[in-house]
Structures are given as structure tokens and as C-alpha cells.
């Protein structure tokens, strides 16, 4: 089963990381990624720019309208996601727990099974 692991955290807290903290978290996460990529289970990974860079197209009868800012004002923001291929939900939860060890503190991971998956592959990594 393919799962998306969606990352939620306080953008304020993440933005307040020092360069050293940022580098530490990213290299710890990269270690987790390498392990699961080697096992052939890791799909696309994305980290989003801050919600201040977001634009939302709100659908409406007639003409949809564009709103500056994120989809919703929340205390924790959607900051990025992983796509993984795991046999069971428990394995997916175990993966998310590894992420939580690499990036401790507050926040949450939402684990959602995928219904459609198109890996693309036309784009260069950032």
C-alpha cells in the first residue's frame, strides 16, 4: 500500500530554527530517507515554502477567486510530505516515528493511504 505521510508543525517554530538546528534536522531526516530509499520504499519527498508564499484558488459557482495566503488559518501548518510504500499501516506509523526521532519537538504526522499515484519524473529535484 502507498501512504502519504503529511507533516504538520508550527511554521513560527520552524522558521525560528537557527542554521545549525536546521542543518541538524535536515541531515537526520536525510539519513532516514536514505535507509528507506535503499529498501526501495521511498517515493517523492517535498518541503513547502512558508504559507506566506501560498496562493489559494477558492472554487465558487460562476468564477473561482484567488486569495493570497494559505488554504486555512491554523496553529499548525502543512509543511511537507513523504510518499512511502509499506505493507501495513503499522509499518507506515513506524516510518513516521523515525521521522519524529530525527525531528523532535511538537507537530504531527498525518498518515493517509493513497488512492491515485502518478510519480511524474519529468522534473529535476530542487
Amino acid at each position: 500500500m502507498l501512504y502519504a505521510v503529511l507533516c504538520y508543525n508550527s511554521e513560527d517554530a520552524v522558521a525560528a530554527w537557527s542554521k545549525e538546528e536546521e542543518d541538524k534536522v535536515m541531515s537526520d531526516l536525510a539519513a532516514v530517507e536514505r535507509k528507506h530509499a535503499a529498501a526501495g520504499r521511498l517515493g517523492p519527498v517535498a518541503r513547502l515554502m512558508p504559507t506566506t508564499a501560498a496562493t489559494t484558488l477558492r472554487k465558487a459557482p460562476g468564477e473561482s477567486f484567488v486569495v493570497d495566503g494559505p488554504f486555512a488559518e491554523t496553529k499548525e501548518q502543512f509543511l511537507g510530505f513523504f510518499v512511502i510504500d509499506m505493507e501495513t499501516l503499522d509499518e507506515a506509523i513506524a516510518f513516521a516515528k523515525e521521522l519524529a526521532v530525527a525531528n523532535p519537538g511538537v507537530g504531527a504526522y498525518e498518515i493517509r493511504p493513497l488512492r491515485v499515484f502518478k510519480p511524474g519524473g519529468a522534473l529535476d529535484p530542487l
Binding site: 517554530a13 523532535p104 511538537v106
Partner: protein, 419 residues
């Protein structure tokens, strides 16, 4: 990340919102600061055992408010003054703070907190110092070091600024749309000052960087509160673009590296991408302003992979629209750089000569003029211009950079006589 460093982060990111709310309750900067400090102390004592609260900001406001009321009551016992008169809306102490945190008046709280720091009666340096102390929570020691003054002098400067604000009266009425726009403009200008203070710290990067980072953080905060203001997007983009070049702006010895000589692989591509996304979003509003235009100019530099690929024509056009929006000799001076690339040194010199009266005390005027004269082979005049510039330099890096030009001229002269 250890538990304590997480608490540190939570406290510093909660600070503007919590301070803003406490200032509204107590209507006194010192009292609000004491209350916030007390709440932070209790957080450090209780959070490691009990775990972090679900909403750290609400927790800090609630605890801070109670401790502030407490200390007011203690004071009231010594002075026969009913504390309620100095407080506002105490009756809702038990109200659902967490719910109200999402309310729009918290937006005005933070804006007010920033706004009191840029009171028009305060000189720019005091505005910057006050904002860094009150809103960002930098220590007096940190601020003093960056301003190259003693801690005692900085302490005194901040105390004096607070006294002036208290005497002038704090703006507690809820602002209407036009007052809000005016406050936003003043706050944006103050953030720009904070950034520039750090940016121009020269080779002394360690002292300047925290200012730049704080300015960007305040900008992001403002942008989150006012997500549809194109000028705030523009300002954020501008600061990100300028800051993205940090590593390339100075050589190992702390000397200035000019834009055209910088190693562009040292530019921070992540900051640049975010800035470009913000400018893209801002321009969609079709309401250009000075920050957006400056950001667009910086973006043209950021987009050029090599110095020779810079689109000087577009930069010249953007400076012209900036001149129309915000006429200033400094803007014209900057445009002259673009003109020199497109039409040569003589055209640029013609553009800046009339500015001499107004910019005679400006380091960059004489620096640029000297450079243009040198290009035209008018070495003696160039020498005189560089001499004036070096006398006006405010950092060792600036002086050293001009010194190189002077030495270069001297070498040319020597070479000329031996030939």
C-alpha cells in the same frame, strides 16, 4: 534538538503576540515586559515536567496577565491607587483565550507593539534598538555590540526611548482601515531600518547578521498578519534577496566584494526562490510600490547567472519608475550605475553631477563618481573624489575598498611615468 532549546524557540516565536496582548492589558511597556519575563520563567520551570501546553501563546498571555495583576496589586498596597484603573478588560481573565487568539484584534495587538517602537518622535537608532529589545527580545548586550556602544549607554538609550513613548501616550484606540495602513507603512519602514543596520555592518558579519535575520522574521510575521498587502510581500522579498548574498559580499579578510565580482554560487538559492515567488504574487495585485520595485531590481540581479547577463535596461526602467514614485537623489545615484552599463560612464556622470549639492556628505556619491571619472581616464579628479569618499567611510571595509582604488590610481600613475 533538546527539550530546553525547543522551549527557547517556542518562547521567542510566541514573544510578539504575547507581548502585544500584555501591552493591551497593562498599557505600559515595562509592566508588559515584566509580566512576559515572569511567564517565561514559569514556562521554563513547568514545561519540562508537564510537557508543552497545547497553545504556548495563550498559556504565556494567561500566566503573564495573572502575574502582572499580582504585581500591580502588591504595588497598590504600598500606594493607595486602585489597580483596576490602570487595567483594561480584566473581567474576562477567565475567558477563552485560545479562541480569541485567532481573533483579528490580536493582529492589531502585534501591529501596535511594532508601531509604538517606531514613534515618529524617536530617532531611527532608538526605534531600531527598541524594536529589537521589545519585539524580538534581543539582549541589551547583543544590541549594544552591534551598535558599537557600551551596554550601559544602550540601556540608557532604551530607557529614554521608553520614557518618550510613555509621555507621548500609547495609541490604544482600534485603528480604522486608513490608520491601519499608516501604521503598517511606518512599521515596514522601521523593519527596513533594522535590516539596513545589519546589512551595513560591513565585514563585521557576526554583529550584523542577527539584525538582518530579525528583520526578516518580523517581515514574515507582518506578512502572515496581512497576507494580501503587496508592499509587505515586496519588502519581504527585498530583504530575502539582499540577505541571500551574505556569504558572497565579503572576502576572507572582511573586505567588500562588489556585486559584479561576487561568487554567485555562494548566493542562497532557497532564499532567492522564496523571494521570486513572493514578487510573482505581489505583482499580480497590479499595485506597484517602492518595496516591490526595489525587490524587482534585486530579483534581476539574482536571476542573472553571471554578472554579464544582468538586464541593465530593465533595471534602469525600474529605477525610473522608483524615481517617479519616490523621488530621491539616492535613487538617481543608483540608477546612474545602470546607466553607466548601458550608455557609458559619461552619461552616468552627467546624471549624477547635479546631485552634488545634496549628496556631498554621502560616501557612495563620491565612491561612484570617482569610479566613473577613473573609467574616463580623468585620474586626478578621480583621486580627489576617492579622497572625499574615504573621509566619509563609516566602516573599515568601506575605507579599505576605496583605498584599493587609490592604490590602483597610484600604480597607473607610476606605470605612466616609467613608460
Amino acid at each position: 534538538m533538546s527539550e530546553l532549546s525547543w522551549i527557547d524557540l517556542a518562547l521567542s516565536s510566541a514573544r510578539p503576540q504575547a507581548m502585544g496582548a500584555l501591552l493591551r492589558y497593562f498599557r505600559d511597556l515595562d509592566l508588559a515586559e515584566e509580566a512576559f519575563q515572569e511567564a517565561c520563567l514559569r514556562a521554563v520551570r513547568t514545561w519540562p515536567d508537564k510537557g508543552p501546553p497545547r497553545d504556548p501563546v495563550a498559556w504565556l498571555i494567561f500566566v503573564g496577565r495573572n502575574s502582572g495583576i499580582d504585581s500591580l496589586r502588591k504595588r497598590a498596597r504600598q500606594e493607595p491607587l486602585p489597580p483596576e484603573e490602570t487595567l483594561s478588560d480584566l473581567e474576562d481573565v477567565e475567558g477563552d483565550l485560545a479562541e480569541r487568539l485567532d481573533g483579528s484584534h490580536y493582529r492589531d495587538d502585534i501591529l501596535r507593539l511594532l508601531f509604538v517602537c517606531c514613534h515618529p518622535e524617536l530617532p531611527a537608532t532608538q526605534q531600531i534598538a527598541l524594536a529589537l529589545r521589545i519585539v524580538s527580545g534581543l539582549s541589551v548586550h547583543q544590541i549594544a555590540r552591534a551598535f558599537l556602544v557600551s551596554e550601559a549607554a544602550m540601556e540608557q538609550r532604551i530607557t529614554r526611548a521608553k520614557a518618550r513613548i510613555a509621555a507621548a501616550g500609547l495609541p490604544f484606540e482600534a485603528p480604522d482601515a486608513s490608520a491601519r495602513a499608516a501604521r503598517l507603512g511606518a512599521v515596514a519602514a522601521m523593519i527596513y531600518l533594522v535590516f539596513n543596520e545589519g546589512y551595513s555592518a560591513g565585514g563585521n558579519q557576526r554583529a550584523g547578521t542577527p539584525f538582518c535575520e530579525e528583520a526578516i522574521r518580523l517581515c514574515r510575521l507582518l506578512l502572515r498578519l496581512f497576507p494580501s498587502e503587496p508592499e509587505i510581500m515586496g519588502l519581504t522579498a527585498l530583504l530575502l534577496l539582499q540577505h541571500s548574498r551574505l556569504k558572497a559580499r565579503f572576502d576572507a579578510g572582511g573586505g567588500i566584494v562588489l556585486l559584479e565580482d561576487q561568487d554567485r554560487s555562494l548566493w542562497d538559492q532557497r532564499m532567492i526562490r522564496e523571494a521570486l515567488a513572493l514578487i510573482d504574487k505581489a505583482l499580480r495585485h497590479r499595485a506597484p510600490g517602492p518595496y516591490q520595485i526595489q525587490a524587482a531590481i534585486a530579483a534581476l540581479h539574482a536571476r542573472a547567472k553571471r554578472s554579464e547577463e544582468t538586464d541593465w535596461e530593465e533595471i534602469d526602467l525600474l529605477y525610473q519608475s522608483l524615481e517617479r514614485l519616490q523621488p530621491s537623489p539616492v535613487v538617481t545615484l543608483n540608477r546612474a550605475v545602470a546607466v553607466s552599463r548601458r550608455q557609458g560612464a559619461q552619461a552616468a556622470l552627467d546624471l549624477i553631477e547635479p546631485l552634488e549639492d545634496r549628496l556631498s556628505g554621502y560616501f557612495y556619491f563620491h565612491g561612484l563618481r570617482g569610479g566613473l571619472l577613473k573609467q574616463l581616464g580623468r585620474n586626478r579628479e578621480a583621486h580627489a573624489a576617492f579622497e572625499r569618499a574615504i573621509a566619509l567611510a563609516t566602516t573599515p571595509a568601506e575605507a579599505a575598498h576605496i583605498r584599493q582604488h587609490l592604490d590602483g590610481l597610484a600604480r597607473d600613475v607610476t606605470a605612466g611615468t616609467t613608460l
